[in-house]
């Protein structure tokens, strides 16, 4: 009961913080960010952040604060899994805070593409895991933070519609501490491959 209270309090705090989010950047910043997204980011992340290749995450509709945090983490090299190092450090290095805020706003306001369907049985198993967690493991219901069907709650990332391969890779690198995410590491540290793939298939389908 105490644990549930702590979870709910945490989520409520984050939701309030999220609702009180920063004002939209001014028009010039929005325009500069849209141009940057068009001419550079779209090469991998697709038009409006709806990427085609699962190597690159879908960014459309992602939480603004989360995007800003991640771009700053790439820039400061505190997010350091291999793909971050290989692809994003260099891209983020020249971005100033204003451009980062503009890009975060741009992608957070883009309409996400529809989910990608998959194996119904795998998706059903993934939904069950996502909604209920695994009682025998330190794996609480994912929906508590990531929202119903992986849609946005608070500052945690939107997962709905994300590429399954990308989700599995992120859980893997968080589990192996290649990507520093202390809270998530504690949650996924005992997640096995089959559980990852099921949850990822469910989220990708949303």
């Amino acid at each position: 009961m105490k644990n549930e209270f702590v979870w709910m309090l945490g989520v409520a705090t984050i939701v309030v913080a999220g609702l009180a989010g920063a004002a939209a950047p001014d028009k010039a910043v929005q325009q500069a960010a849209a141009t940057k997204a068009n001419e550079l980011c779209s090469a991998c992340h697709g038009p409006g952040g709806n990427s085609i290749s699962p190597t690159f995450p879908r960014l459309a509709g992602q939480k603004e604060q989360y995007l800003e945090n991640q771009l700053k983490a790439f820039r400061s090299r505190t997010r350091a899994e291999p793909d971050a190092h290989d692809f994003m450090w260099g891209i983020a290095a020249p971005l100033d805070d204003t451009m980062i805020a503009g890009l975060a706003y741009y992608y957070s306001t883009q309409p996400p593409a529809r989910g990608i369907p998959g194996d119904p049985a795998l998706i059903a198993r993934g939904k069950d895991l996502f909604d209920k967690g695994v009682a025998s493991k330190p794996l609480p219901p994912c929906a508590t933070c990531h929202g119903k069907n992986g849609e946005v709650v608070g500052e945690w990332p939107r997962l709905a519609g994300q590429h399954a391969a990308y989700i599995v890779k992120q859980i893997t690198v968080i589990q192996s501490l290649l990507r520093a995410a202390p809270v998530m590491h504690g949650i996924v540290k005992e997640m096995n491959r089959a559980e990852m793939e099921a949850v990822a298939a469910f989220l990708q389908s949303q």
Binding site: S42, A43, C44, P47, P54, D83, H85, F87, W89, G90
Partner: protein
């Protein structure tokens, strides 16, 4: 002002390399990686094969990232070549079975402005003992996005380069096609089509291209002799000896049309390319009549790129019609060819498939074949007069870090210069040229 000074410096350095003055010492990191801050695998499956993002980088003129004041990189190779039968005097392949420093390259590669960028390679061939300009491609590019577009609708540009297809972004075309690296010491088949390396580093190519909605690529370029103002594009080549370089008549057209489609981790391209070339039979004798070469090619590429599995395949078919309009009626001009027929054909097929695990452990299988009209007067090296050669290639790669590649390559010839057995009239068989090639490639 600082920007202006940097721009000037870049141009001076570019002029220095193209103008044959000694380039400054290289920096310690491949220049594109330094410019973008990204690692090799962002653009390459394995050098030089490009990923979709690598193609975008090239199509946009090597301009992504931050301009470097000294955009240099270096590449070095060391190898061992072992030929199955190195002949009675052990001299078919020089230094057979011994480690050699194969050669090295300096790259001037990077953006000059947001719209201008270059790839210029200067290579030293240890076997030949001299250096020369290798591949070069300088671009001016632009992008167009319609109202509300969230990615460029159109990428367009102009290119100045020195090797037909070096400007192409798919690795099914010859210049950056397979084999990506092969032994410079081993003997190789004598005949290939003109577009398949026959004009490399000898001509000036200039043209325009577009890439529409990541779907349709079109290009029209023209090639001329790289003399006069264009002579820097063949710097270091042998222009004085007959057969040293090609001399073309006027501006010779090259076309390229390709359809590209990407879905999930997959990308596919099907296309056509080709050129019509009027070539003087002897490059040391100007103003003669010309022979005409019409190369028409089909090509395709498929890539599946994920972590940890990457699979790629390329194939091309090249048909060359050779009209000996100058050499046949005259019986040959200077040291040029002496065909016994007015017209002959060549057909080349290349196909390869590659698998990489974790972009670290790779295996490739390839088939390479050139066949054509037999003409003992034209192909004087062959008792049968046939130009036919067929090879199967198997290759293993190990990429311990992204700028180092260890390669073991085996080439198996079933036909060489016209025959499987006794192809030279002295009892040498095609399989005697089978080659095992161990190569260490380092870029920094």
């Amino acid at each position: 002002m600082a920007t202006h000074r940097l721009s000037s410096l870049w141009l001076i350095v570019a002029a220095g390399v193209l103008g044959l003055i000694s380039p400054p010492s290289a920096q310690a990191v491949p220049s594109y990686a330094r410019q973008t801050g990204q690692q090799c695998i962002a653009c390459h499956v394995s050098f030089p094969e490009l990923t979709p993002y690598g193609r975008y980088f090239k199509l946009t003129g090597y301009t992504i990232g931050q301009r470097q004041s000294l955009p240099f990189a270096m590449m070095g190779q060391a190898s061992v070549t072992k030929t199955q039968n190195n002949g009675p005097d052990n001299d078919v392949t020089a230094r057979d079975g011994n480690p050699v420093f194969s050669g090295a390259s300096v790259f001037l590669a990077g953006k000059a402005t947001d719209n201008i960028g270059a790839f210029v390679q200067w290579s030293y061939d240890h076997q030949e003992g001299h250096s020369a300009l290798d591949n070069a491609d300088i671009r001016i590019v632009g992008k167009y996005s319609g109202a509300g577009a969230k990615e460029p609708d159109l990428i367009y540009g102009a290119t100045l380069h020195n090797n037909p297809t070096v400007q192409d972004v798919w690795n099914s075309t010859p210049a950056f096609g397979y084999p990506y690296t092969s032994s410079s010491l081993a003997v190789a088949p004598s005949v290939s089509t003109l577009i398949d390396g026959g004009l490399a580093q000898q001509v000036a190519g200039m043209g325009g291209y577009f890439f529409w909605k990541k779907a349709i690529y079109g290009e029209l370029s023209f090639y001329r002799t790289a003399d006069g103002a264009f002579s820097a594009l063949r710097a270091g080549q042998d222009t004085a000896t007959a057969g040293g370089v090609s001399r073309l008549s006027g501006y010779n057209p090259y076309w390229r049309l390709a359809y590209n489609h990407e879905w999930g981790p997959n990308s596919v391209m099907v296309g056509t390319y080709g050129m019509i070339v009027k070539k003087l039979p002897d490059n040391t004798i100007p103003d003669t009549a010309t022979d005409k070469f019409t190369d028409t090619a089909l090509d395709a590429q498929y890539q599946y790129i994920t972590d940890p599995h990457t699979f790629t395949a390329q194939a091309t078919y090249i048909h060359e019609k050779q009209d000996w309009d100058a050499s046949f009626p005259t019986g040959g001009i200077g040291a040029g060819p002496t065909p016994g027929l007015a017209s002959t054909n060549l057909n080349t097929i290349k196909a390869k498939a590659t698998y990489y695990y974790q972009r670290k452990y790779g295996a490739t299988l390839a088939y390479i074949s050139t066949t054509g009209t037999a003409d003992p007067n034209l192909y004087t090296f062959s008792p049968t007069g046939s130009p036919d050669s067929t090879a199967y290639v198997a290759e293993l790669n190990y990429v311990p870090v992204q700028n180092v590649r260890v390669m073991l390559q085996y080439t198996n010839y079933t036909k060489f210069d016209g025959a499987s057995t006794n192809y030279d009239g002295n009892g040498r068989n095609a399989k005697d040229n089978n080659t095992l090639f161990l190569n260490l490639w380092v870029a920094f």
